[in-house]
Symmetry: C2
Subunit: 349 residues, 2 copies
């Protein structure tokens, strides 16, 4: 697959983003939803991860939302306490529970050329309830009749990993509509139009008992209540997407069907993007699927980072005969790449 | 708590149930939904578990729904194959995947006195699709406007543990309405009436990442699409319901609020029943909860069986000032017990 990465990738890194408060530090910014606004600007809704600054090597500071106190708190742990597991830098595992070492919020970035972005100084959406205890992540944007519907993963040791819905018309005021998928379910992409009178959304439930991580599709009459859940597309043993598959970009309607850019991982936890085509009228039916990866980690900023060997995507613009893909690279920064739609369709069988 | 178990418990055992086919054997019958019919009979919707009969000690036979062949098949495995794990009699674990050794279906039983049941000769609902590959389990019955809505757990290595919805008006013809909760989510109890224009259901999602197993509540406008999911009641560290809690009986409206009989387990996997009261108008709010168990395993048929030390419930009748509880004992048979509602309310704090 011919992939045209932007030569000066990554286009956004942690140092481009102002922390939400002086005692915090942005450690990475990555998976972002994308939409083109009416004024022709490209808007990214960035996932921004922060840690609490710490000058003392003997302590670990963990920021999280405290439901009892109704505010974000920073808790300190003794790094010399042998009962606490610090071996994975993403986690602080105490006998009581597992904490995340960072907390994510969502931030707006705007661009006239789709490459150079102006990032807002303050978060647009910040964790604020028990479902969002450990942060809000991986937003997808679906524009329907002038309203931008945003879904995002909410992480919490109290409630697990849920998907929540919010909406905005102006990217200033955001309305939260609660949890739309029970734990653990994330990677939701809401289709941009109704099909036969119903809304549809891809989603990726995780089965604790059977260890499945596949793409499902669900129906709704109002975007809030979702049902008639159906398995849509499974991981493929022995291939690059053998352990899990989930939707990434909001599906794009073509005359051949719904084009979906999805992500998959293999047993080495290498994340790549792929593509599949779903029936126009029966979107639960796969009608074609790329055999190989659409984009796989190859460059240094994709191979190395907070969690290396990862390309992850939450949105793309389908314009000018191209898929313009904004992607999280190595769970660390934002990359940009273009792929010709003709090449994607040639590879879809 | 004063619990009046029926003296001749268990009221139904495997030997009372005719196998669904001559080469099958019923090994247990347990968790059942319950409703009182218009003709005043008590109807139980029984979970019946069967294995494929096998005279040859060197092979294991595993029945399951095969989606490719669109029929139930019986697959044979070599008991001398060291690559296959037979250590837990509930499972046959091959390198390819985990199979269940038995398959469950749903069967109707009727009674005039609520104790002596006539069990139908054939299954009422039988696994018939990929979601139900390993069987259908643990039905709950909610009667709304003359229609009986039945939800049940569907088990599958392909799709995980989902909850499906079916309906019937006459207990002869059943209509399937698909999956209403994505994996893994079970122990759904649909409230018998709308509250402020919305249907409600308790449910128990399982988080693979954070290992939560708690009671949630969700809303619906049509019983098919469910949303605005909220955590309703958590397990309690150090108590009898410390590792998981899930709804059991369909909630019963009293003048004090919605009375719920739920199940919980501790770290030894001992399952008991408890009770909680939820706000009449805001059913996501717990207003009282019993400290101790409502019923705990004490008798030989509760302590010993296919999976001992278990009392599990899928429904109760609230009549004559009593909770008439039909429960699965030791995952093996059906027990019956009565508890005075006055005693339950006295224990609710």
């Amino acid at each position: 697959m011919k992939v045209a990465r932007y030569a000066q990738n990554p286009i956004i890194t942690a140092k481009d983003v102002k922390p939400s408060r002086p005692d915090f530090e942005v450690i990475y910014t990555m998976n972002c939803g994308v939409t083109r606004l009416d004024n022709d600007e490209v808007l990214l809704f960035l996932r921004v991860a922060e840690i609490a600054k710490c000058d003392d090597d003997s302590i670990a500071k963990v920021p999280y939302w405290c439901e009892e106190q109704k505010k974000l708190i920073v808790r300190e742990f003794d790094r010399n306490d042998s009962a606490i597991d610090y071996s994975d830098s993403r986690f602080v595992r105490t006998p009581e529970r597992t904490f995340l070492s960072s907390i994510s919020h969502l931030r707006i970035a705007r661009s006239k050329d789709g490459i150079h972005f102006e990032i807002e100084e303050a978060p647009a959406m910040f964790p604020c309830n028990e479902y969002e205890q450990y942060g809000i992540e991986d937003p997808r944007i679906t524009k329907i009749d002038g309203t931008y519907w945003i879904n995002y993963s909410a992480c919490s040791a109290i409630t697990g990993v849920t998907t929540c819905l919010a909406s905005t018309k102006d990217w200033k005021d955001f309305t939260r509509h609660g949890v739309i998928f029970t734990p653990d379910n994330k990677d939701i992409c809401i289709f941009p139009e109704k099909i036969d009178g119903k809304y549809y959304a891809f989603n990726r439930p995780a089965s604790a008992e059977y260890e499945t991580r596949d793409m499902w599709i669900s129906e709704s009459s109002d975007l809030i209540g979702w049902g008639n859940h159906r398995l849509a597309m499974k991981s493929r043993p022995g291939k690059w997407d053998e352990t899990r598959v989930g939707c990434s970009a909001v599906p794009y309607l073509t005359d051949k069907g719904w084009l979906e850019i999805y992500h998959g991982s293999n047993r080495d936890d290498r994340y790549c993007l792929g593509s599949a085509l779903f029936d126009k009228d029966k979107p639960w039916k796969v009608i074609a699927r790329m055999d190989e990866e659409l984009i796989k980690p190859e460059t240094p900023y994709e191979l190395n980072g907070f969690y290396g060997n990862v390309i992850f995507n939450c949105g793309a613009l389908f314009e000018d005969g191209k898929a313009k893909i904004y992607y999280g690279a190595a769970d660390t920064c934002v990359g940009y790449a273009e792929v010709e739609l003709k090449d994607i369709f040639d590879a879809l069988k």
